[in-house]
């Protein structure tokens, strides 16, 4: 050390020693319990125990320490205030606005009419009053699955919510409001309500409100792996119900299978997860009606018969290293809309969900049947059950987030089904009987841009194709969606 440095340091040192002699030794800190703030202070005090500091320094440190304790106390009090003010109900939801354009009239079906020689399916001539070809919900323009148009057919009165007549246009698809209320640390009440603005007619404003979810979820076990649901809840069939809402869906439109699996029935549901990583999940539900959507032909919000629908799903993740889930699901119950419980309605299917990095793969296969009207029975005109023969239905979808902002997706679909009202063996070509013959395939491609966690833009093109004897229908759709999530 240089002589100059020593000269500078020595007076300071001597003054320090002099001050130290005048000071009483610092009191030893009391030991504080582990994990408390006192431990910090104690550690600070321990470090201080052997220090010999000038009196003004000691005063300043004491002052600092006191102010720090005040600050910490204020922090604790503020936290308590904030915790006490924490709302019991949290509000979320979204606004889904879009623009769409369709081919043709926007309808996904055409009528098979005229002379037998002009018909695609002459064998149904004189057996049903109306025979329609195609898929009535194929021209979906939004995540609700609403068709651009249901078509104009004499004698058929339907609630055509979009009713675009083939014109391109802007649309507010849905305004969703979701309320979550923690009734306890293991009970959550959820209500999801959709506000749907639509064109009115006959002095009616046309807008409607739809209660989508109204459920209580109780986590019955301490580990939270078993939940019991009561109310109006998501179905247990397949996997598409998980992303049926616009804010959850990677793309825009639902698949051709969604009408069978993404309804929200009313009843009781139980779900349990087993093994490490939830490798086995079992879900079962007992509900009024099936898991079909309300805008399709089969749905009972409030049951009109005593027979309930039992449904279930078993999913397995075969290997922990693979992010892959394989599911088997099905349901069985009285057919919807019927006044009696004599005839069944059922679905079964398999599904697959895999993740490979930023790529999601989703697939599902489904079959189902509902008997419809029997020839030997008379039905209430307001409770006539539709018949269904879903011979084959399925889809394969690949979603890829190329960057955190931009993603693309593609989907291939198939639906081979018959839906009918009335029984041709008893009612031959008269009355309200109708038949829908669907042999459809669909190719969907789209892009999404996640601007931030509150704004998502999507654009999608649906090419609807027909096969078999059904002629090609001009029913492609371009649609887009701007999601404002709150």
């Amino acid at each position: 050390m240089s002589r100059i440095g020593l000269t500078l340091l020595l007076p300071t040192l001597f003054s320090t020693v002099a001050f130290a002699q005048a000071l009483p030794p610092a009191a030893a800190p009391a030991e504080a319990p582990a994990g408390t703030e006192a431990a910090d202070m104690s550690a600070a005090a321990e470090a201080d125990t052997d220090a010999v500091l000038p009196v003004d320094t000691q005063t300043q440190i004491n002052d600092l320490r006191e102010r720090m304790l005040d600050l910490e106390q204020r922090l604790d009090q503020t936290r308590q205030v904030a915790t006490a003010r924490r709302p019991i109900v949290s509000v979320s939801g979204y606004v889904d606005a879009g623009f769409f354009a369709t081919q043709g009239t926007g309808a996904g079906i055409i009528q098979d009419s005229g002379a037998a020689g002009a018909r695609a399916y002459p064998e149904y001539m004189n057996r049903y009053g109306w025979v329609f070809l195609g898929d009535i919900l194929s021209t979906a323009v939004n995540s609700r699955g609403e068709a651009a148009d249901l078509g104009e057919f004499a004698g058929i009165d339907r609630f055509d919510s979009v009713n675009s007549n083939g014109a391109p246009g802007f649309i507010i698809n849905e305004v969703n409001l979701t309320l979550n209320a923690a009734l306890s640390s293991s009970a959550l009440a959820t209500a999801s309500v959709n506000f749907v603005p639509r064109s009115g007619h006959d002095f009616n404003i046309g807008d409607f409100v739809e209660v989508d979810i109204a459920q209580l979820e109780w986590m019955a076990t301490r580990d939270g792996r078993t939940s019991i649901f009561v109310g109006k809840f998501d179905s247990v069939i397949g996997i598409e119900y998980r992303e049926r809402k616009a804010s959850q869906r990677f793309g825009i439109t639902p698949t051709l299978m969604a009408r069978y699996t993404t309804g929200t029935p009313i009843g009781l549901k139980v779900r349990s997860k087993f093994l490490d990583g939830d490798r086995i999940v079992v879900a079962a539900a007992l509900t009024n009606g099936s898991s079909t959507t309300e805008q399709f032909h089969f749905y009972d919000e409030v049951d009109s018969n005593a027979g309930k629908t039992a449904s279930g799903r078993l999913s397995v993740k075969p290997a922990p290293a693979l992010d892959l889930e394989i599911g088997l699901s099905g349901e069985y119950g009285s057919q919807d809309r019927a006044l009696d419980s004599l005839d069944p309605m059922w679905f079964w299917g398999v599904d697959l969900l895999g993740h490979v990095g930023p790529v999601d793969i989703k697939a599902q296969y489904l079959r189902g049947r509902s008997e419809g009207e029997r020839a030997d029975r008379v039905y209430d005109p307001n409770h006539r059950p539709y018949g269904l023969d879903l011979k084959n239905g399925g889809y394969l979808e690949v979603d890829w987030m190329i960057t955190p902002v931009v993603g693309v997706y593609g989907r291939g679909e198939l639906r081979d089904a018959l839906v009918w009202l009335g029984n041709p063996d008893t009612l031959t070509g008269t009355g309200n009987d109708r038949l829908y013959i669907t042999k459809s395939w669909r190719a969907v491609g789209g892009v999404r841009a996640v601007i931030n966690e509150h704004i998502v833009l999507k654009a999608e093109y649906l090419h609807n194709g027909e096969y078999g004897r059904i002629p090609e229908i001009a029913n492609d759709v371009f649609t887009s969606s701007l999601l404002l999530i709150y």
């Binding site: 020593l6 923690a182 960057t403 996640v450």
Partner: protein, 316 residues
């Protein structure tokens, strides 16, 4: 000794005090503002906690440095102006092994200076604590043993990175010294919202995704910090914040060893995220000490989101 070390001590002290008081002026200004502001948010908490942590660390660091400086000057005086070969200014604190994202290997102390001498670097008498940890009612992935109330340098200035990838935290278990800065980069294309409601270490980093600037938090209070994502219920991590550098990871055979434990009555704690912590008080002599533990595995418990609500079950 270099020129910087010759800088007058009183001037250094004034500088240290200036730095120490600076946050108080910020806090005072904030206090005036908050009188008219709405109820505090998670960000307010985080800021307030950071300020408290900075205050605390500044005081502790300042006192530690000053004490060592006085010690050095005394030795200098006693040696007649000649510094002994070992004398130097307080060395920079070396991060413990656990703060690299990889827990320290079994049998080594978490601190930077691991030596089997009977005296620590500060000249105090130290010993080695060792023992075995058994597990009852199941198995645990990671277990640690640490010396509670251990005097030593904080983790201020150290960082640990916990990644969010494939909707999981990596690593899911970590041990850090108090004052360590934990950075949470999001490697997923989806948004995550990292938060904790663990007492004074509670924080809420808000939502961000891959490519966004990773957000971080300084953990200042010893204890267990449970970390979750507000969006994905299955994401969880546990961070043990220890008061000092004296900790070790339990080896596969259940053994552990912590060196440089100051002699005297010490509380030794065994911890694993999936078990109930076990602790015992032992007398550490210069010959060391022995502490064996049995950890009881606890059943997993559901957690709530940052609003204290159970997670909706179908949103993942």
């Amino acid at each position: 000794m270099n020129g910087a070390r010759n800088f007058p001590i009183c001037a250094r002290f004034v500088m240290a005090m200036t730095v120490a008081f600076a946050p108080f002026s910020v806090v005072a200004a904030e206090k005036e503002k908050t009188a008219e502001l709405p109820p505090p948010t998670g960000a307010d908490f985080a800021r307030l906690q950071r300020e408290v942590a900075e205050q605390r660390q500044l005081i502790i660091e300042m006192m530690r440095v000053e004490q060592q400086r006085y010690d050095m000057l005394l030795r200098l005086l006693q040696s007649g102006g000649q510094l002994p070969p070992t004398a130097s200014l307080p060395p920079p604190v070396t991060p413990p092994a656990g703060t690299t994202g990889t827990p320290p290997p079994a049998g080594t102390g978490g601190g930077s200076a691991v030596a089997s001498t009977s005296k620590g670097s500060g000249g105090e008498r130290v010993g080695t604590v060792s023992g075995k940890v058994d597990v009852r009612n199941g198995s645990v992935k990671d277990a640690y043993v640490y010396v509670d109330m251990a005097k030593g340098s904080s983790g201020r200035g150290h960082t640990l990175e916990i990644k969010q990838k494939d909707k999981q935290f990596w690593p899911q278990t970590a041990v850090v010294q108090k004052g360590t800065n934990i950075i949470f980069p999001n490697m997923d294309s989806v948004f995550h919202n990292v938060f904790s409601t663990s007492g004074r270490n509670s924080f809420d980093l808000g939502s961000y995704r891959q490519g966004d600037t990773p957000r971080s938090v300084v953990l200042t209070t010893p204890g267990v910090v449970e970390v979750f994502c507000n969006i994905h219920a299955k994401m969880n991590a546990a961070i043990l914040v220890v008061p000092g550098p004296l900790f070790a990871k339990v080896g596969a055979d259940g053994s552990y060893k912590i060196d440089n434990v100051p002699v005297g009555a010490r509380r030794i704690v065994a911890w694993s995220p999936s078990a109930k912590p076990a602790q015992q008080k032992i007398d550490v002599g210069s010959g060391g000490g022995q502490a064996n533990f049995t950890l009881d595995v606890e059943a997993a418990k559901a957690h709530t989101n940052k609003l204290g609500q159970p997670y909706g079950s179908y949103k993942e």
